[in-house]
């Protein structure tokens, strides 16, 4: 219908351009009916609606219903045609019997005239029967009346289109089923499509990344990262500064961790960093004097898979020793680049 609506109006208008006076009214009505249906179809595909567009839709549908009877005579069903043939046959039998009874009292000219009259009568009865039986009341014609109310209650019609599911049935479900071992197929279909999709995305991403200049390989991790305009690592932002923590001692008290354990970890971390001016002091007493700021979440800007100039914000939330959302599942991630040796005993 979508493809048909693109050309049907133009084709009809072109085909019906040279009309004589007897055809003019009917063909104009046909064109009006088709135009109303095409307008309705185009408006039904709108992604969003206003009261005005919905009222337009309803008026187009109303016009269509008022003018659709021009096509009724072409909607003869097989059952109607069979019924008309049966009626025609019964009439012919009846007329043949009558003719047999009257055959001795009429001349040949009278008989021929009477036969012509009966043929016209049969034809008229058939012509009367067919329009009575024809109709355009089928389910697809009926549900168009609900489009406007559906859009008012649930949003645009295209959101509820089944086309995506129907297309998915071909590529994703049929192929997945064919490749499965026919046992527990649902899981295998989902798994197969997931793998296929992930592989496709990976290949596209690699292709996109290979075209981008400024890709660097981060030391120690072996990971490739995009070099941004002024940064060489993904941009990170610490947020939610907590004001009651200014030294390591206070931090340990807040987290309910032994100061000695914390200091041991700090010193371990310090030993792994390169010995330069930026390195933390190796003396525990000096480390204890350094100012500390504590934060709640860390925001990491991660480049989109296909659009290297756009980013998603991934948030790593800090929950200390408490369970997050009563111990429920969580999707927080934390990326870190270890300084020093890549392999570390844990």
């Amino acid at each position: 219908m979508r493809n048909l609506s693109r050309c049907i109006s133009a084709v009809l208008a072109s085909a019906l351009r040279n009309l004589d006076s007897s055809q003019y009214h009917d063909f104009k009505r046909a064109l009006k009916c088709v135009r109303a249906l095409v307008d309705f179809s185009l408006m039904a595909q709108y992604r969003s609606h206003t009261p005005d567009t919905l009222s337009y839709m309803e008026s187009y549908l109303q016009t269509f219903h008022l003018t659709k009877d021009i096509f009724v005579k072409f909607r003869t069903s097989k059952a109607t045609r069979t019924r008309a043939d049966r009626q025609d046959w019964e009439l012919r039998e009846l007329m043949a019997d009558q003719r047999a009874e009257e055959v001795h009292h009429r001349t040949v000219a009278n008989r021929n005239r009477q036969a012509d009259q009966k043929r016209v009568e049969r034809s008229n009865r058939r012509a009367d029967l067919i329009p009575c039986e024809n109709h355009i009341n089928f389910i697809k014609m009926r549900y168009m009346t609900h489009f406007a109310s559906h859009a008012r209650h649930f949003g645009s019609i295209s959101m509820n289109s089944t086309e995506i599911g129907e297309l998915a049935h071909k590529d994703e479900i049929n192929d997945g089923y064919r490749r499965s071992n026919k046992n527990d197929t649902a899981r295998q279909i989902l798994s197969q499509y997931g793998c296929q999709h992930a592989l496709g995305m990976t290949l596209q991403t690699r292709e996109a990344l290979s075209k981008v200049k400024g890709v660097i390989v981060a030391e120690d991790s072996g990971m490739e990262m995009l070099a941004f305009s002024s940064h060489t690592t993904p941009r990170r932002v610490l947020k939610g500064c907590m004001k009651n923590t200014s030294t390591l001692t206070e931090l340990c008290a807040t987290l309910n961790i032994h100061y000695s354990d914390m200091m041991q970890e700090i010193l371990c971390f310090t030993r792994q960093t390169a010995p330069d001016d930026r390195r933390l002091p190796a003396d525990p007493n000096e480390v204890g004097l350094l100012p500390v700021e504590r934060f709640a979440p860390l925001e990491i800007l991660v480049g989109n898979l296909q659009e290297t100039d756009k980013f998603q914000i991934h948030r790593a939330r800090c929950t200390a020793t408490k369970a997050f959302r009563n111990g429920g599942p969580r999707n927080d991630c934390l990326w870190s680049r270890l300084v020093g040796t890549r392999t570390m005993e844990i």
Partner: protein, 79 residues
């Protein structure tokens, strides 16, 4: 996830281990001339169950709390 080993380590985790984020903090080295600020994260390392391989029934990689040994680590999250 914290990268702690080579790609061959920890099964499907590829050398990374799952960690629970305990604290995020900045520490300024005011005692040095450079005055570097380190962004650090205190994490609690969780041990992968079944050598970090997917649990067949659920499709998840399961982790558990470390029973013995050091479980806390400080890792750099930037500067």
């Amino acid at each position: 996830m914290v990268q702690t080993g080579g790609d061959a380590n920890y099964g499907d985790l590829g050398g990374r281990v799952v960690a629970r984020l305990l604290a995020l903090f900045k520490i300024s080295n005011i005692l040095s001339e450079a005055g570097a600020v380190h962004w650090l994260a205190l994490v609690c390392i969780l041990d992968p169950v079944n050598s970090g391989r997917f649990h067949i029934a659920s499709g998840d990689i399961r982790v558990s709390r470390r029973v013995n040994g050091r479980d806390m680590r400080i890792v750099s999250i930037g500067e």
